[in-house]
């Protein structure tokens, strides 16, 4: 054993003995301030980003939103989620689709989708009253969040139904494609 190794061994032995005698170990204090600063900045940034979107689009499970080269931002409106399985409005599954991805014929009167019309008309009344209360003009915008393989006939039915419920403006929600 070299003198250095012997010295280290003695020190370890001393420390062990001191521990047995009940000496309190000196604890290290973790500096939290810098970590707090970093986390506060991240949370503020995320909150700002979250709050700046006028409408949050959350596609339903299995929905593949079509992509486009369009770059215009989404304006405030009421989203309708239309997939090949169902039409969802205000977190409610309004209409089921058949196996061909068409609107269930029982819910369809010509181009009008009955259950969707009822909810849209109700929402239009509510939104109009709110706009009146604020002294603003009601824009009546529908944001159609479709699916890549959604049939044109279904799209037309949904647009027709929204039009009958007094919604005047339509926008297709897309995923921005990088060129």
């Amino acid at each position: 054993m070299t003198p250095e190794e012997e010295q280290a061994f003695l020190e370890r032995k001393k420390a062990k003995r001191a521990g047995k005698r009940g000496f309190a170990e000196e604890g290290a204090v973790l500096g939290m301030t810098s970590l707090m600063d970093a986390i506060t900045i991240i949370v503020t940034y995320l909150l700002k980003n979250y709050g700046s979107d006028p409408v949050v689009i959350a596609p339903t499970a299995g929905q593949k939103v079509p992509n486009s080269t369009a770059d215009t931002p989404i304006q405030d409106g009421v989203p309708i989620y239309v997939t090949q399985r169902a039409i969802t409005f205000m977190d409610r599954r309004v209409v089921q689709m058949d196996e061909n991805g068409e609107v269930d014929p029982a819910a369809l009167q010509g181009h009008l989708i009955g259950p969707l019309y009822d909810l849209l008309a109700e929402e239009a009344d509510r939104a109009k009253k709110m706009a009146e209360g604020k002294g603003e003009e009601w824009e009546g915008r529908i944001i159609l969040v479709g699916d890549q393989n959604l049939k044109f006939s279904v799209l037309v039915d949904v647009m027709y139904t929204a039009g009958r419920a007094e919604f005047r403006e339509y926008a297709f929600c897309v995923v921005m494609k990088n060129q």
């Binding site: 939290m32 005047r168 339509y170 060129q179």
Partner: protein
């Protein structure tokens, strides 16, 4: 008489609960945020078509009235009631599309089956003739998927068209934008 000196005890704030909340907020906010960047394409219902046409009439300019019908076997393009590429003396030729498929024989869910480049070239031809026209009526057969419709609208708008400035900062619509006001119509073929 000596005064007793009290030493102030420094109490450090317990930041651990705050840290826990902050750390929980980060994944929650990240989940709530959009992962993909979303955009919107404004479309007009057919009732606005008449308004757009009357404006053009006011200017004493013959309206283009560009219509694109997406069929399973290609595009039928017509302007001023005349289908492009129709037989002489006929306003429309229902047997053959104006622009055939780029990938014939492919299923409908293959969104590259249409010849978007040729459609854009056609739109540029019309834009050169009618530089003030911005409206196009797009229609499709019932089975056409939404992605094909949107890519058609992209081609008609022009792939280099950026409308962000015009929509948000009231800037002028860039010259690269062709027919950027789309009217979606049912059965307009």
């Amino acid at each position: 008489m000596g005064r007793k000196k009290f030493e102030e005890e420094v109490v450090e704030a317990n930041l651990l609960p705050v840290m826990n909340i902050m750390l929980l907020m980060i994944p929650a906010l990240l989940l709530a945020m959009e992962i993909a960047r979303m955009a919107a394409i404004a479309v007009s219902p057919p009732k606005f078509a008449a308004t757009a046409d009357s404006k053009e009439e006011d200017k004493k300019e013959k309206p283009l009235n560009l219509k694109v019908f997406i069929m399973e076997d290609g595009y039928r393009v017509s302007a001023s009631g005349q289908q492009a590429g129709a037989d002489a003396g006929k306003s429309a030729d229902s047997n053959s599309p104006t622009i055939a498929l780029a990938k014939p024989g492919t299923p409908l869910d293959d969104h590259d089956r249409y010849d978007y480049a040729s459609l854009e070239a056609k739109a540029k031809e019309y834009k050169a003739l009618f530089p003030h026209e911005t409206v196009v009526t797009v229609s499709a057969e019932n089975s056409i998927p939404m992605q094909s419709l949107l890519r058609t609208m992209d081609a008609l708008r022009g792939t280099d068209c950026k409308l962000m400035g015009a929509m948000t900062a009231n800037e002028e619509v860039p010259a690269e934008c062709l027919f950027w006001q789309a009217i979606v119509e049912a059965g307009a073929g």
